[in-house]
Symmetry: C2
Subunit: 325 residues, 2 copies
């Protein structure tokens, strides 16, 4: 698949055309190239970027057990009723060793298989080299360039990485559920400020009112640069309850930002973060290409582990290009 | 506080001596410097590294509600009975905007206040620039150099970041609890391969046997490079049940690695990952210092958001030093 990306400009242009036409196989190939951190993926993204910028990018995050995937699926169907096309990127915590994907995702894909207006793809969380957040952002841009009207990015919302990912959306939705135990407060503290909209899913369960009260209490403490008060919505995703209201709330926040001329400010702020992540990745890629192959890295790691070399000096020497031996 | 770190070598040497003597205020200052990503922190770490390498570094991870902190506290007390000194680094998911710390942590610190053999410090999860994993690893090395016999690193175990952090320990413990709902399987898939020891905490609850069976079932699928079969221990941390057995299991894994001459291999593999993270951070720091101040970053972000500049070309130009305008 990357071979098509290494071909001359004419081949690249054809490939870009296929992606822009929403060709499912071309999309899958492009995403694999991004996931594999292939150098050709950069060429492709450069060609696609001018065609992006039209999709509504919506980030959704919630702890395991919050019914996040079902909610995302329901929301996708809601947008389909409005004749919008949808791209879904699901970021799953998978093995750092095998990079294996999660089975449930295949089942989800099959459920949507008949509808060509929905494209769903899961991203495996890889090891150190690639960087999950930049790859996910690239996939969102790719789906945007492929003409999707709405791009839904879903993550498990506990780690910093996952928070970073959903922060790059135009609108960020935090999903909570009643009765997750006392320690859930910890999660809430971490995600409080990234939520533009709160959803209490499984709201037919006992404790929904309590969760709402807790959010309200924390809201009095939060300071937002855009002066928005995030609404709290109640859903039962498995029964499609509250989904049209959620779509309306998303639209409401978007209109609020536009009305206050804040949407561009949000995009600028998002690009600032994204640019930094892209730089981190590109700088390391270049270092690995030019000055530090895997064998040398192994040797250094061994010397450090055996305390024959100090890693802090080594890193400085590598960065300044003055490394000895 | 960083002023002492910018003083001449004699002052640095005094500071290093105070840290090596376990001076609590010196430790706190040093950790703040690391958290703030201060340039002087590198100088300090370089001076401290030769004194590190003696502590047992134990990583513990578990979802919110797993009783992780209580378990870590109990384990610390267990080691205190063996006259070992302890350093605890608790990584909490806090606000990306405020970097604020979690209240509960202060309460924990007070509980240990009378015992100078335990030093506890929480790390706030910061924004993009610093990088949480390298900072946490540096703090572990610092506590090691400060003469702690055991360094316990605890994280919320869902995100990739948190997984990366505990992977850098000599021994990694994954804490599960009965009855966390159907979606917990997702977490297990992500952390299965990093666990050297499984702990089922709150094991007096219904469902402990089921969790154990599930772990056993997944173990038949896992392939470990060290051929170790992670034991599954049951604890009730609030009542100190199963804690001596846990300490024994940790020791058992360590002895297993030593017996098979695998401990050094594990340390080399850890340093390889850590070195890459250190490089990512150092490369970006240098770029920000030399070629990209905050104002310029803002300008680029705006140009990209307005689609007047393509970020993929920009990043390449920045990395190769050929950026125009």
């Amino acid at each position: 698949m990357p071979e098509v990306l290494s071909q001359p400009d004419a081949a690249l242009a054809t490939f870009v055309d296929r992606i822009r036409a929403g060709d499912v196989r071309a999309l899958a190939r492009a995403i694999s190239a991004i996931e594999d951190n292939s150098a050709h993926a950069v060429r492709l993204m450069r060609a696609l970027f001018p065609h992006s910028g039209h999709a509504d990018v919506i980030g959704l995050t919630g702890s395991p057990g919050s019914g996040k995937s079902t909610l995302v699926d329901q929301l996708a169907h809601e947008y389909r009723k409005q004749d919008k096309t949808i791209g879904i990127v699901a970021v799953d915590p998978t093995s750092p060793y095998t990079g294996g994907a999660i089975l449930g995702d295949r089942i989800r894909m099959q459920a949507h298989h008949a509808d060509t207006g929905i494209y769903i793809r899961s991203m495996a969380t890889r090891g150190f080299l690639g960087g999950l957040a930049p790859a996910t952002a690239d996939v969102a841009t790719l789906l945007d360039a492929a003409g999707k009207d709405v791009v839904l990015v879903e993550t498990v919302g506990v780690g910093q990485d996952e928070i970073d990912i959903v922060r790059l959306a135009d609108v960020t939705i935090v999903i909570l559920v009643p009765g997750m135990g006392d320690d859930v407060q910890t999660i809430k503290a971490g995600i409080m400020e990234i939520a533009d909209i709160f959803v209490i899913n499984k709201s037919d369960r006992e404790g929904a009112e309590r969760v709402e009260r807790e959010i309200r209490a924390m809201q009095t403490l939060a300071i937002r640069r855009d002066d928005w008060t995030p609404p709290i919505l109640k859903t039962v995703a498995t029964e499609a309850i509250g989904i049209p209201e959620l779509a309306k709330a998303i639209d409401g926040y978007r209109k609020y930002l536009e009305g206050k001329q804040l949407l561009m400010a949000k995009k600028v702020s998002n690009w600032r973060e994204r640019l930094i992540e892209m730089l981190r990745k590109a700088l390391l890629d270049r270092m690995m290409r030019e000055r530090l192959d895997a064998a040398l890295l192994d040797r250094y790691a061994r010397e450090i582990a055996e305390h024959r070399r100090d890693p802090y000096s080594l890193v400085e020497e590598l960065v300044t290009g003055t490394v000895a031996g």
